[in-house]
Symmetry: none
Subunit: 191 residues, 4 copies
Amino acid sequence: MKSKRQLQKENTRKKILETAYQIYAEQGFSATTAVIAKEARVSHGTIFVHFPSLDELLCCLIQDFGDVLGSEIHRLAETKDNIEELLKAHLDVLARYEKFYIRLIAERSLLPEEAQLTFSNIQSIAAYHFNKVIERESSTIKNLPVHLLFNTWMGLIHYYLLNKDLFSPDAPVLERYGPELMETFLELMKK
Amino acid sequence: MKSKRQLQKENTRKKILETAYQIYAEQGFSATTAVIAKEARVSHGTIFVHFPSLDELLCCLIQDFGDVLGSEIHRLAETKDNIEELLKAHLDVLARYEKFYIRLIAERSLLPEEAQLTFSNIQSIAAYHFNKVIERESSTIKNLPVHLLFNTWMGLIHYYLLNKDLFSPDAPVLERYGPELMETFLELMKK
Amino acid sequence: MKSKRQLQKENTRKKILETAYQIYAEQGFSATTAVIAKEARVSHGTIFVHFPSLDELLCCLIQDFGDVLGSEIHRLAETKDNIEELLKAHLDVLARYEKFYIRLIAERSLLPEEAQLTFSNIQSIAAYHFNKVIERESSTIKNLPVHLLFNTWMGLIHYYLLNKDLFSPDAPVLERYGPELMETFLELMKK
Amino acid sequence: MKSKRQLQKENTRKKILETAYQIYAEQGFSATTAVIAKEARVSHGTIFVHFPSLDELLCCLIQDFGDVLGSEIHRLAETKDNIEELLKAHLDVLARYEKFYIRLIAERSLLPEEAQLTFSNIQSIAAYHFNKVIERESSTIKNLPVHLLFNTWMGLIHYYLLNKDLFSPDAPVLERYGPELMETFLELMKK
DNA sequence: TATGAATGAGAGTTCATTCAT
DNA sequence: GATGAATGAACTCTCATTCAT
């Protein structure tokens, strides 16, 4: 059982991470620690009590995000045994975190290297499930290296995410274009 | 006829733009105006004589870049009447400007909104030629909306460009993976 | 008779002072209260339970140090009745606390004024014994005001202590140069 | 011939150094760059236009100071051929820069290492002249290693400088005690 | 036209101190 | 009495922009 103090500390840390998540999703990764602190209603110094540096905060945040995203993809993907459902699940998960995910892929170069790696690892979970399902359905799918199929899929959805302002400035992109993208990709893969 | 002064001025402006292009290609768009001025061998203030603000410089630079890229694509694409050659031409052009182009798509969020739009317009030229060729070859190509085919192609190559550090940290990505990407895409499109 | 709580409290206080002594000896007086607390295995706040402010801690520490040093000098000096043995005793005592003593004279300006005064008072004990012995041996010693002789001696050893990094970066200075300094000083005083 | 711009720049740099000199002399080396900027009537950023970092400012300042002090000592010492005059000259020079010199020897440990070395080198100039004169007068001086004589002298005056608050809180120490110290030291050296 | 020294708002980070637990 | 999370003022340093020359 946790003491009140421990709970409060965890709360503050969580609050900072959640606020950072929102602020970054909204303003991008050039948002300042001062803004995050203000929005989280903690003092500026408090951020550095919980995270020794901005880079550390970013790493933790993205690590956490990666864990959540990865495990959600994993959980949903596990029960899917056809490619269509898998892609749908993938889109569903990304749609839920769309705003932040866009910032992540759009501003990756601003992030500390460690965070970049962390994020890179997320992809491999999706790739793993993709692989598994593709192999099973290989008879109806064009004979191409799996990784190229996967990268085409990733490229397609990232392209729409990165160009959200063109495709769907106000509403979430994946909500609007997800089905279309899926159908396109399925049709392309088909023998 | 231009006075000597005017020529000199144009020269300086050009020098700044060229240097900015190189510096940004090398260091990304967080490079400072001071660095650009130094490398261009002009004073720091001179930059602001020619461009009222950094954002203006970025807009002009990307405008210029867009014009060059657009017209090069246009020039090469005009003579191509099959999809394969067109894609090859597209890759060739992008390969020539790879470093800067990557920065552009990777750090687009750092750019002023106007520059983002400017750049967006570039795509339409490629799209136009893509459209034209696809329609001609529609008999052998899967029956999908052309813009989705185009976006799949763009997504694929952008995905490799954006993840250059993973796919080809040292050598240019398009040089190494271009053919493979093209073949993949052609195979996918095929009926 | 003391309650358990009182004993505990005294213990903690002592622990803090001892740790502070070691940390300051090692790192100088710019060491932070957080470091001291950590090393003393008490919470950061505990320091301020025992000492209302950092300055107060410093004053107590230096007061205590002064008391120990003063009484040690006094104890040893009391039994010495010739100048040579007195100086030797003085050096011996200082050698035992060399590291901290150096910090004290080297970083005196960082200390609260009160601590500076406290420390100043230490000197007078040495001066007192010096005086006494000198007067007894005045026949063989140059006819100079005693305080000037004493200050010359203090100056000489402080000079070596303050420039330890030049004279003896690794080994204790007084161990290495003490005898030499003593001989020099004795020879200088001699008629 | 220098342009107005160059003169102005040099002026600002000089102003910053002079102000830093005064502020440090008055408040010690923990004075902040903001205070120096304010007192020098330049913006805070200007300091970093002229000196890339605080450490660099300190190094330049102490370098400059060392050069001035060293050459003054050298100039005055050159024409002196007896020890008495030499010591008087030494005291005269130090007296002129007393406040800053005290900070330098009192807070040496706060300075960047490079500055510490710079300062150390200053001493050797005094030592050189001391050596030369002592050798000439060796017949009347006690037979002791010259460096020990020199260090005794340095120790003596540094001791009075470092304890200015005890010996002469208001008036300059060397003005008040210089002659006395000199006489004492001469008497001690005498055979 | 070109210069570059000067500006100043704002960045991340540190740390003695407080106070609810 | 002891805790340690939270505070916030103060620190050094950055950089697009200005303007007298």
